[in-house]
Symmetry: D2
Subunit: 398 residues, 4 copies
């Protein structure tokens, strides 16, 4: 039996569930060097947290994350809370000598993020991880491998779109619409994923950001009784009340960009793209080939091989689930085309984090704080481009 790796998780809402599920399942499907143990869950309300712990099999529940962070039994602190508290929790955990996994984006401000990176740098023996979980969606991981293997050649075009539609005028005020808590709206929530995915797949970095627009279509939203509640995007959150509050985040973010390697790009994230439910899309076109990904059909990668005989060239829909074919993560799961879902990106990452803690190389790179900081710099460039209505070079963002 492998040595245990004790996990302490902060947060019991949407991400609390996805991370709990990941730790529950990782060692069932992967052969891991250490056994992840669901040691302690910490969240604000002790009674609710205890109920969460009972349901999910956490051994302990706590309403004191600071105490948990300093519990010497715990090896890894996982931060699944809103963005504005990532900084303090991560610093405390690093200070306490723990490995740290943090939800994305790293922080709400570049300064906060930079401090996190510096703290991580100092903690040389500790690993840091950021939950850009889509990197472990097999189809996107295959796209990364194809580019890395030189199958696309020189890259011309990148398109990163993340399109949802749950934030219509009837959706009430949630913490996700509060600039103070969320930092931003579609930009940090959705576009951060697209920026990370574009960097991950191309292996390239942004050179500049241009013409950014951060648009708030719905300027006021109804306040639900009990304040800004509603954990998950829009679900069960349509009760109307008289009181109104201002939404202080962007409903949509869009910009053009150039990469260091010369590719040009368009990016767009929105919560108001009627009909698109979870359209996390990435398109990359190179001289020798191209890929298209849409999370709404997450098991599929569209692949165009421009080196095949011209008569037989076409967009090929690869069902990225064939373990025998070497598709990423497929061997751990079910037979070909017995599909996996949203939660499996998290489970794959949990498994890779456990390997990384034991100094095993993950199948594809996991972002640490320093890597996630590069995405954070792009987010900052978008904010500045939108604010000052100018192009912003990434070299200007420290």
């Amino acid at each position: 039996m492998p040595r245990p790796l004790n996990i302490g998780l902060i947060g019991s809402k949407f991400m609390g569930r996805t991370h709990s599920n990941a730790y529950l399942k990782a060692a069932k499907f992967f052969d891991l060097p250490r056994l992840p143990i669901m040691h302690t869950i910490a969240a604000r309300n002790l009674e609710e947290t205890q109920a969460f712990a009972d349901r999910w099999g956490w051994h302990n529940a706590s309403d004191d994350w600071k105490a948990m962070v300093n519990n010497p039994e715990i090896d890894l602190i996982d931060i699944g809370t809103p963005n504005h508290v990532h900084h303090d929790q991560a610093l405390a955990a690093l200070e306490a000598g723990k490995h740290v996994a943090c939800e994305k984006p790293l922080a709400n401000t570049l300064d906060a993020a930079r401090e996190m990176v510096q703290a991580a740098k100092k903690a040389k023996k500790q690993k840091t991880f950021v939950w850009y979980n889509y990197r472990r969606c097999p189809a996107l991981a295959l796209a990364h491998q194809l580019v890395k293997d030189g199958k696309l050649g020189r890259i011309y075009h990148v398109r990163g779109f993340y399109l949802q539609d749950w934030a219509g005028p009837d959706t009430p005020m949630l913490w996700r619409f509060s600039g103070k808590e969320a930092g931003s709206g579609s930009l940090g929530d959705l576009c951060a994923h697209s920026i990370d995915a574009a960097r991950f797949v191309t292996g390239d970095e942004f050179a500049n950001v241009n013409g950014a627009i951060l648009k708030t279509f719905i300027k006021e939203r109804t306040v639900l009784e009990g304040g800004a509640g509603g954990e998950i995007s829009g679900r069960g959150a349509k009760t109307k009340k008289a009181k109104k509050a201002k939404s202080t985040v962007d409903d949509a973010a869009l910009f053009t960009a150039e990469f260091k390697g010369g590719a040009v790009a368009t990016f767009e994230a929105t919560r108001l793209s009627t009909g698109d439910k979870n359209g996390n899309k990435l398109e990359v076109h190179g001289e020798k080939g191209a890929i298209k990904f849409n999370f709404e059909r997450m098991c599929e990668l569209e692949w165009y091989d421009a080196t095949l005989p011209e008569r037989e060239q076409g967009w090929s829909t690869i069902n990225v689930s064939n373990g025998d074919a070497g598709h990423p993560y497929a061997e751990a799961w079910w037979p070909t085309a017995h599909s996996i879902g949203y939660e499996h990106g998290f489970i794959n990452q949990a498994a890779d984090m456990v390997k990384a803690v034991s100094n095993r190389k993950p199948l594809v790179p996991i972002p640490d704080f320093a890597d996630a900081y590069e995405t954070q710099r792009v987010l900052e460039a978008v904010v500045q481009s939108a604010k000052h209505r100018t192009p912003v070079k990434l070299s200007e963002i420290k």
Copy 2:
């Protein structure tokens, strides 16, 4: 200027239009050894036929097809009439020494079809053609080429489906629902295309037909004033009248089959597949590759190459419109993915018929009467299998 080829066309309804359009355009897009001349159009009502001739540019109009057939100026007689008159018209035209093109299916009875084949055989210097126009849909022609080039290997499965939905209970009595005129319903109208397409693409012949069902869902239909009218499938034909008449044809035909080469097959044709408008579908799966075609996306061929590296295998959507790539007929038309439509299959066939008359080989085989007779034998096997509720070997159908 090439020597003229004078055409005489019988029929001015739906097929009259598609054939007229084909002769109008063939020499604009193809370099032909002879110039097709729209010499005479013959149909029942002289006044209407003259108007049709004026609109389409036929030099002469006639209400006497027999006279036209014997006009020594005319080189090729094209028969675009309902099935029950094909036999007499074809025999007269062959007798008069003309090349003959005939709409599909060849005839309503196997006996009639056999006489047509025998007459064609005797007329050694005359060419015969049957308008199984889908063979000249570029995507289906490419499928034929892929099989011929050995890209599929041993064939396991064939599926031939032709799904339409225009014949709901509100659709009135048309000649297409009269067994006397149409011979059959979905079987001769739609399934004949699937049978021909399966033979064309696989290069194989049917060994047997099993478990055939010929189903009439709507047993009575409203008679429109003026009798069984309504030239084109359902269009403008929803006026209700009190009088009812019996539909004496099948609304749907389905059966299983085996090919001589060992492939097994399912076939289905129907006018009541709600939501499917013109779903002429063919799927062929071989040991080394597979194809899927659906006329509703007629410019696309789905192609699966099982010899590629397994990691990169997927259904590839080829846009079959690239002249440089050697896609069939593409060179004659527009740039890649500037799509062609339904009518272009007819134009491509008109061009190939003109070439064939000058003893040039068409790009892919055009069915002559003898070839179309093989499809007719399969249709007969379906009828007998449905009637006697037994399997029918093709060797039993003479």
Copy 3:
């Protein structure tokens, strides 16, 4: 904390994993009246079974299923073994007073299946279940609801296709190719699902089966060292050895059918449909609407509403994952379009079985032994139609 429901599972291969995962997760996502406890796992090799138990969290491991069946602590016996042992295991479990869940198909012979139904009938206070898990794929459950709500009207057409391609000539001899163990090939393995799905969605029963073909394309397969091994379809099973053995099952099954309500149908199941990985497809066309389902895009249901204004009619792709919209099972899972996968059908069924044991009505019907026997009768009709090359009325199959 709800009262425990102790589970004893027989089988630790492919289905052992899917069922273990289902019991592990059901109570995390559903509020259940009783708490499923992973009490004992039984399989042939004790050492391997203990390792399986350790990994998955089964409290006990056993190599004596008969002893387990008689353990008074256990409430429900779940049978995840090859088809030829279902009968004895189910009878013993019913005899011991347990609720019984059994993998599909019920048995390899109609006689065995009938005895299972009779035993279930006698055990009045015990529930039986059969793992036709696709009924709990949300998209298929929605199709069931649409038909039940009258949205399709009179049904004209049913198509049930289950297309895989893993059984090419290089795939070695597995127990799935042994008629003795598996009973049949594609018929019981795949087509059984299609038959159940057609019955489930239409709410109708088969009237007859026609023209059935059971085809073995690959008549001999290479024997792997250690005999007929290889648990999951084809995975890791390409080692070639000199010794050959006869495949005694069908690679493909196809037939036409009629339903009692008048619909006509084509069915096809195959392991040699090159390019199709897990194409469990169902199409149902009615007078007022139609649905299309393909498990390869399991979260989507294609829906055609023929009662909408004609201008706006089209095939609509519903992402069946919206809890607020009342999509089946969606409320238990993730936000809209954060997709679920293959395993979730099993988890949904585990949850529904726990509810059923407490006499709560499941969201959509779960097949018990009597219900699954109707599917078994259709399988028998297919076998007889293929053998005697005749149509077979279901009324002739007792």
Copy 4:
């Protein structure tokens, strides 16, 4: 017989063919108030032009467009030449009292375009038309009608992408790569269509353009013998020669924009989007509904109706070819889903121009010079935004 409308066409290359085909067919399929007569074709080389006239049925050929423009028999001058000569030809034709149809974009400079508009304004009794032919693609015309009927409500998002891939490094120097002749590359050739389509479908106008990038990936191209030849995008143009010339146009253009009504937008046009052959795409998302169009499947419109019961909401693929359903232009053509192609947009426009000349209202608006000038202003804003790297308000562009 209706009164003739004599046409004089300038240009015998790609657009010469599409326009000739349009005049050949318009009166065959539409009942027109005047009969378009193919009176004279004018182009540079008399011999070639005579051959073109013979093939297509033009009554006269000429190498003197000025003489043709002043021929009193001619009613309408159609300009199908490269962009840099539109201005002089249009002014001469207007001066001569003719109706004028001009290929898009109107001109290479805003000044030239403005003069064309002013000349058109003065010629009060003459009609002007610009060949933004995609407006007459039935699916895009339906999108226009849906927005106009209020089915989308307040518009949030517009995306206009035109993606091709024919201009890789092996494609030689063509006139389309010469800034002097073409004015711009992907911007005027492709993006002009997207800008027009966005204006046409939304009924709204651009407020500003931001962050524009005009990118030339391939800076040098091989010169073909005989100079910058190659009429149609890339076809037959892969011969390599030693001599190189600079490409002085953009291979790709991308920018963000805002509309007066508040919608935000991304636009992208490129000739280097590997795998995309003719991806003229438009997406418009409103509060109540949304549409997606891709010319590669030109007969289909994807439509999302957010006012349907939530359970049944999905992207609906409308096959826009049903005359009975009132689909635009469908009545003139073939039965439902007997698809039309690229050329039919031109034929539909030719028919509508003939109607407009007789003061009949076309089915959907045809752009005249003044309307096309609005698109020209947006193109100019893109050029300025790219040049000065600033946002550009449309109000600044006169």
